[in-house]
């Protein structure tokens, strides 16, 4: 064969191989991950609030439930439903936990659940998305947005690192604002398992 023919066959072959390869990589993860997931109790729902001067008040919630659905064809059609029990707050200091549960903050007797229902999911990168939705806490509902990044995937399990910041005054929980920041930073590890 002439030099030119060999070259064009090689180029075509290379192009075909690339097409197949990238095509396979793009279609594979989302379709594979598609399904209904239950949020496992092994998830970590952490938060922290900055304190004036120095440091943070940090803790997590030990009781929650929820599920999320990943749409195999269109990530934007995925959704999340998540409920946290604010009475399950843990900070390592019982008096602080009691204070948070009281009507000074969460008022768990009147409002035993914090509910998040997603209204949209927007993919922002190969592994990340912004999840927007309605957050209901302390009797008020506001729009909230969280950034989710895929963690590990194996078989029926998938994990997400989810972060977001909420203004507690939007929910009428503004006690101690001069000392404890109005912004509550959420840092969560959601473990989902399907099937």
């Amino acid at each position: 064969m002439s030099y030119r023919t060999t070259n064009s066959i090689s180029s075509a072959g290379l192009a075909l191989a690339l097409f197949c390869f990238t095509g396979a990589v793009q279609a594979d993860p989302l379709a594979e991950a598609a399904g209904e997931y239950r949020i496992e109790p092994s998830s970590h729902i952490g938060f922290r609030v900055e304190k004036v001067g120095r440091g943070y008040l940090a803790g997590d919630f030990s009781k929650f439930r929820g599920n999320f659905r990943i749409d195999g064809h269109d990530v934007g059609r995925s959704n999340v439903d998540f409920v946290v029990m604010p009475a399950s707050v843990r900070t390592g200091e019982a008096r602080m936990e009691n204070f948070l549960r009281s009507d000074a903050l969460f008022d768990v007797d009147a409002y035993p659940e914090i509910v998040f229902r997603s209204t949209s999911v927007r993919q922002t990168g190969p592994d990340s998305a912004i999840i927007e939705g309605d957050l209901t806490a302390h009797g008020r509902t506001n729009k909230a947005a969280f950034v989710a990044t895929v963690g590990q995937r194996s078989g029926r399990d998938i994990s997400f690192h989810v972060q977001g910041s909420i203004s507690r005054s939007d929910y009428g929980m503004d006690a101690g604002q001069s000392i404890y920041s109005n912004q509550v930073e959420f840092d969560m590890q959601l473990q989902g398992s399907r099937g």
């Binding site: 304190k51 004036v52 001067g53 440091g55 200091e93 008096r95 009691n98 009507d103 000074a104 001069s178």
Partner: protein, 201 residues
């Protein structure tokens, strides 16, 4: 008028004295009030105010002590016996000490508390914690100490106040007036002499 004289205190000492006295009464109320409400939000607010005024009293007490060390002290009035004078100075000295120690024990209380709530005086100045280890036991110790020293101060201050009122209304010897801004025409002269003159008339 600002500085102390042989026969009376100056305006600086007088102002700090009555300011601390008023703040102390307020602090006793703020310290006890959290027990009178079930609202945890209100308790939190009351305690932050209590801490703010506590640091203010500490600053004023330190100022008062520094002023006392740099100024002359009014002399023993002729009308007061040496024994009574010694008793008065002991009580007053105790109050100087307590005015410093009580807020310091409060500072130790928040510094050792496992609650780790920052001290933000009047939402203006962050007061760092004292370098002390946090534990429930240590916090309890400082809370009890702070409380009982506060009660002791209240008792001693009440005695101090009753004694002053006795001098003013029962004995009429002008001693209380030494800790009160004088009117312009009374600025000079021994006020005890003036009082006796008035009584004799």
């Amino acid at each position: 008028m600002l500085r102390n004289r042989d026969t009376s205190y100056g305006l600086v000492a007088i102002t700090i004295h009555w300011t601390i006295a008023a703040l102390f009464v307020g602090q006793m109320l703020l310290g006890l009030a959290p027990r009178w409400t079930h609202s945890m939000a209100l308790q939190f607010t009351l305690i932050q105010w209590h801490k703010s005024f506590g640091f203010l009293i500490l600053a004023l007490a330190a100022l008062r002590l520094a002023w006392a060390l740099l100024n002359k002290w009014p002399r023993r009035p002729v009308a007061i016996e040496r024994g009574e004078w010694l008793a008065a100075k002991t009580v007053q000295g105790s109050l100087y000490a307590l005015m410093l120690v009580v807020p310091l024990t409060g500072w130790a209380l928040v510094s050792t508390s496992t609650l780790d709530v920052p001290s933000f005086a009047f939402n203006m100045v962050v007061i760092p914690d004292l370098p002390m280890a946090r534990s429930e036991a240590t916090e309890d110790f400082w809370r009890v100490t702070h409380q009982w020293l506060a009660y002791a101060t209240a008792v001693i201050a009440t005695g101090h106040m009753l004694a002053a009122l006795r001098h003013e209304f029962w004995l009429g010897d002008g001693v209380l007036k030494r800790m009160w801004p004088a009117r312009r025409d009374e600025r000079s002269g021994d006020q005890t002499k003036r009082r006796h003159t008035a009584a004799r008339r």
